[in-house]
Amino acid sequence: MMYAILCYNDEDTVGSWTKEQDAAVMKKLAVVQDKLTKQGRLGPVARLLPTTAATTLRKDDPPLVLDGPFAETKEQLLGFYLVDCKNLDEALEVARDLGAANPGGAYEIRPVGMFTPGRVLA
């Protein structure tokens, strides 16, 4: 079974880390990740940019683009995509296509700050 591990934390707190503190945390995480990589078990890892950089597409008819992160609590996180896009417009286009195929709910579109592809998991 493949597991997704989703990272939650207070972004104010994480954002207020100094460069050194941030680097120290990343170094400790790298140790854990390296172990998994050696075992051939680690897939893609992404660090997302702050929620202020997020845009949300409500999959209404017609779809509604809203600034900011997905804020409702009555829906749950069911999955995610990583897509390479030139800019936000292109990402929104992808989200619209996906939304047309599967209406209801919303997509939060968040730029990825740091990415390691990891092992391609078949």
Partner: protein, 424 residues
């Protein structure tokens, strides 16, 4: 993270919202601040024992309010609060209060708090000091250090600012759309001022003052979280991030300025650049351009160039042209001229800045840029005069040293060659 570190962080994060709500309640900055401080003291005592509350801001607002009311009553030699309103019974009350803290209210609370700090009656230096003290919660000592003045002088500056604010009238009603956008613009300008205080520092003071840039970015992000659909706030945040991204490359080991063209671009902070670019993308979708967005877009074009020669100067020239229309200023034209010199040559650029001389007769950069253009045109005698003038107008030793470098090059090279223009 340790308990203490967590509590410190929670108190700092909750501060703008808590002080903002207490200010709406008491309509007096000193009372609001004192109430918040008292609530923090209680938090430090009770949170480690009882565990942190679900909503730290709501907890602080309620405790702060009750303690302050208690104090006011005691001062009037009246009875203390009745038992059912006392702070011992926090849980239900906290829920109720959290419910009432709906988005719109606390948005305007924080905006009002920021707006009071940049009240038009206050000179810029007082606005910044007050905002850093009241909203960011920096200590007087920290602020004094960043502004390179004594603690006593800073204390006095903040006290004066508070007195003026108390005398000025600020509406506590929920602002209308026009008022709100005026407040937003004033607050954005103040955040930009805070940033520039840090950004314009050089030499020994650059490191001491860099936290001002970080604080400005924190405030810009706070504002953007409150007003998620304001393209100019996206632009402001992007601008600050894109400029601050270059921090590690802007000075050499001796503290001297390194020009954009000469910076080691590998030292630029890519995470900040990505965030800035993403925010510009978001802002553009609104098709409501503004000065912060345009300046951010210019900064983005520099950030996108992996080498100076790959900079899209034509686009930068166009963007400065748009900025000139929106916000006419000789300084904007001067900046545009640098782009023009790259696109159409130094003569065209020189023609462009010549009419500005009268208005910029005391502006260091004008003569630095003029000297550089003249040097590119092999008009070395005139260049020397311009550089001499620039040195006499330099604000910092780093600026003067930079111009001297140009002069040395003029002296050294019998056959002059093209040189880089002076632009920070």
């Amino acid at each position: 993270m340790t308990d203490t570190a967590w509590i410190d962080n929670a108190l700092t994060s909750a501060r703008p919202q808590a002080v903002g709500a207490l200010l709406r309640y008491f309509r007096n900055l000193d009372t609001a601040e004192e109430a918040y401080q008292n609530a923090c003291l209680r938090a430090l005592k009770t949170w480690p024992q009882n565990g942190p509350p679900r909503d730290p801001a709501a907890w602080l607002i309620m405790v702060g309010r009750n303690v302050a009311i208690d104090d006011i009553r005691r001062n009037r030699k009246q009875q203390a609060l009745p038992e059912d309103e006392a702070i011992s019974d926090l849980d239900d009350a906290e829920d109720a209060l959290a419910e009432r803290l709906d988005g719109s209210h606390y948005r305007d609370d924080i905006l009002r708090l920021l707006f009071i700090c940049c009240h038009p009656d206050l000179p810029a230096t007082q606005q910044i000091a007050l905002a850093l003290r009241i909203v960011s919660g920096l200590t007087v000592k920290q602020i004094a250090r960043a502004f390179l003045v004594s603690e006593a002088a800073m204390e006095q500056r903040i006290t004066r600012a508070k007195t003026r604010v108390a005398e000025a009238s600020v509406s506590f009603e929920t602002p209308g759309a026009v008022d709100r956008s005026e407040r937003l613009a004033a607050v954005a300008a103040m955040i930009y001022l805070i940033f520039n205080e840090g950004y314009s520092a050089s030499g020994d003071t650059a490191e001491i003052r860099a936290p001002l840039c970080e604080e400005a970015i924190r405030l810009a992000r706070l504002l953007l979280r409150l007003f998620q659909s304001e393209p100019e706030i996206m632009g402001l945040t992007a601008l600050l991030l894109l400029q601050h991204a270059r921090a590690a490359a802007r000075f050499d080991a001796g503290g001297a300025v390194i020009l954009l063209d000469d910076q080691d671009r590998r030292l630029w902070n890519q995470a900040m650049i990505s965030e800035g670019l993403a925010l510009i993308d978001k802002a553009m979708r609104h098709h409501r351009s503004g000065p912060y967005q345009i300046q951010a877009a210019i900064s983005a074009l520099h950030a996108r160039a992996d080498k100076p020669e790959n900079t899209d100067w034509t686009q930068i020239d166009l963007l400065y042209g748009a900025l000139e229309v929106m916000q006419p200023s000789p300084v904007v034209t001067l900046n545009r001229a640098v782009a023009v010199s790259k696109v159409r040559g130094a003569l065209a650029a020189l023609d462009m800045i010549e009419p500005l001389e009268q208005r910029l007769s005391n502006y260091f950069h004008y003569f630095g840029v003029r000297g550089a253009f003249l040097m590119q045109l092999d008009r070395n005698d005139e260049a020397r005069v311009a550089f001499d003038r620039a040195i006499s107008l330099a604000n910092t030793s780093a600026e003067a040293a930079h111009i001297r470098m140009h002069l040395d090059r003029l002296m050294r090279d019998s056959k002059p060659r093209a040189t880089k223009t002076s632009k920070k």
